[in-house]
Amino acid sequence: MSIYLPIAELPVNLFLILGLGIAVGFISGMFGVGGGFLMTPFLILVGIPPAIAVASVPSHMAAASLSGAISYWRKRLVDIGLGLVLLSGGILGTAFGVWFVAVLLRAGQFDLVVGLSYVILLGIVGGIMLAESIRAMVRAHHGAPPIVRRPGTHAWFHGLPVKLRFRQSRIYVSAIPVTLIGFGIGFFGAIMGVGGGFLLSPALIYLMRVPTTVSVATSLFLTLCTMLIATVLHAVENHTVDIMLALVLMVGGVIGAQFGARAGQAIRAEQLRLLLGLLVVGVAIRVAVDLVARPAELFTVVATELLK
């Protein structure tokens, strides 16, 4: 059964898109990530123009992350103060990213920059996850106690001014690096069509020394906010949000996320991280192959109205 997408101006198979929404929703529920890094490349693969995919996926991620965000909110795990400082940077970063997408589309280098961002960011984050989870599993196998990382070590940015105390996260840091992290997440989120949860929670855990549960809760909450903002900004700036595509994806996404969350609870944390690491590295390799292998068709044709 086909459904016509009014903004993309082409028909797509309803069950393919719904299935994609469910599958990515399952993964995002299981690992607590937005899943945009899987969804956007897949949509482009099935023929949705990149500009429309990047603009329509954020609303799916907002819908899929809402359940988790509500549940963390009820458990009072979201650090609102930290979230707001990150968000202030995130809004700026998203706005800058949305504008940068338009510039890249006009220059014809959008695909290249998105591809390179995927390979570099996913490669690094996935690699770290893999290495870290394998170490944890080996340690568990030998019966050694898990390493409890604890503050005390001071990084260079602890000397910066405008220091704020975030009680929930039990940290006392300058607002400058926090805002910068938010800016980076918003920026790459907008151009890669991802929520940035897979970047933000490691950044909060390893750089800012925020407790794991608080960092996951806060990053999910932040994903929800930035994805809602990205949807509005893409609609205003680029007119490329396809509400039909978004609706089908989000309906699939929220269903998949519920089942994914249950599946995730049945697996040990380091195994979960290993699986996520494999998935992230897999996507990075797939995108890298596309950049390096000779494409079947060297030419692409795009209508200028899609570039504004």
Partner: protein, 264 residues
């Protein structure tokens, strides 16, 4: 039926009239064509459609000896758009868009259907002048400050045609027009689901012994209707409200799922 329908008929009649004026003195033959629909409506389950065109060659003097030598070329041109064609080249091991050309105001949809392969219909000059066949269609490119078409073998030009044919938006059928009787013909024009919206010009040429005998043009419209039309208009004209609506839809879907699947 409605105002647009009447407008369409009046407009077609004017075009028809103009066609008569152009060719009437040249030959006795006239062309009469009819399309299965003048409005292709895009609804939520639109996946493309086939447009059927019937035509008749009206010959006042009934010269039966000539009737076997008729050839028909039907060209359907979608609304003009400007396209950028880009070529990837290898840079530092990566395939990167390097060179690009701008095709100015060229048809976004182009179908050429003829009763015989275009090359057999007449001289290359005739084919070029009448824009018969994809190869002979004018595809002006922006070259510096000037607009000009280039040689048929130009790599960007051939690539543009190839990409558009792969997308199903450019289409050529050398035997796509069938004669039911020596003077009655029909053809089927495939319109893919990704057919752009706008006005499509349908030009029918009657060619005999290497000369243009008669020409007839009509037009159809491809329009989004109902929900699809509203969505497209809102997205274009009220970006902020549209974005807000999409964001609220996401929140509503998420809330609904949270309460439906709630276990506590």
């Amino acid at each position: 039926m409605n105002f647009r329908g009447i407008g369409g008929i009046v407009w077609s009649a004017l075009v028809l009239g103009a066609g008569f004026l152009m060719v009437a003195p040249a030959a006795a033959e006239r062309l009469v064509t009819s399309v299965s629909t003048h409005r292709v409506l895009i609804t939520s389950n639109f996946t493309g459609t086939d447009l059927v065109l019937f035509g008749s060659i009206e010959d006042d003097e009934a010269r039966s000896s000539k009737s076997s030598g008729y050839d028909i070329v039907v060209t359907v041109r979608g609304p003009s758009r400007t396209f950028i064609a880009r070529r990837k080249d290898r840079v530092l091991g990566l395939w990167v868009n390097m060179d690009s050309r701008r095709f100015i105001e060229v048809p976004s949809y182009l179908a050429v259907l003829s009763s015989r392969p275009a090359a057999d219909l007449g001289s290359p000059e005739l084919l070029r002048r009448l824009r018969i066949g994809l190869v002979n269609h004018t595809l002006p490119q922006q070259i510096g400050p000037d607009f000009a078409d280039v040689v048929a073998q130009d790599p960007f030009r051939t690539a543009f045609l190839r990409v558009k044919e792969d997308e199903g938006l450019f289409h050529e059928e050398p035997q796509g027009v069938t004669f039911l009787t020596p003077t009655l013909f029909r053809t089927t024009v495939p319109m893919p689901g990704s057919a752009p919206t706008g006005t499509y010009e349908i030009e029918t040429l009657l060619i005999s012994t290497g000369k243009l005998i008669a020409r007839e043009t009509t037009a159809i419209e491809v329009v989004k209707t109902g929900f699809e039309a509203v969505v497209a208009r809102e997205a274009r004209e009220h970006g902020f409200a549209y974005g807000l609506a999409t964001a609220l839809l996401a929140l509503a879907t998420g809330f609904l799922a949270t309460f439906m699947f709630r276990r506590d």
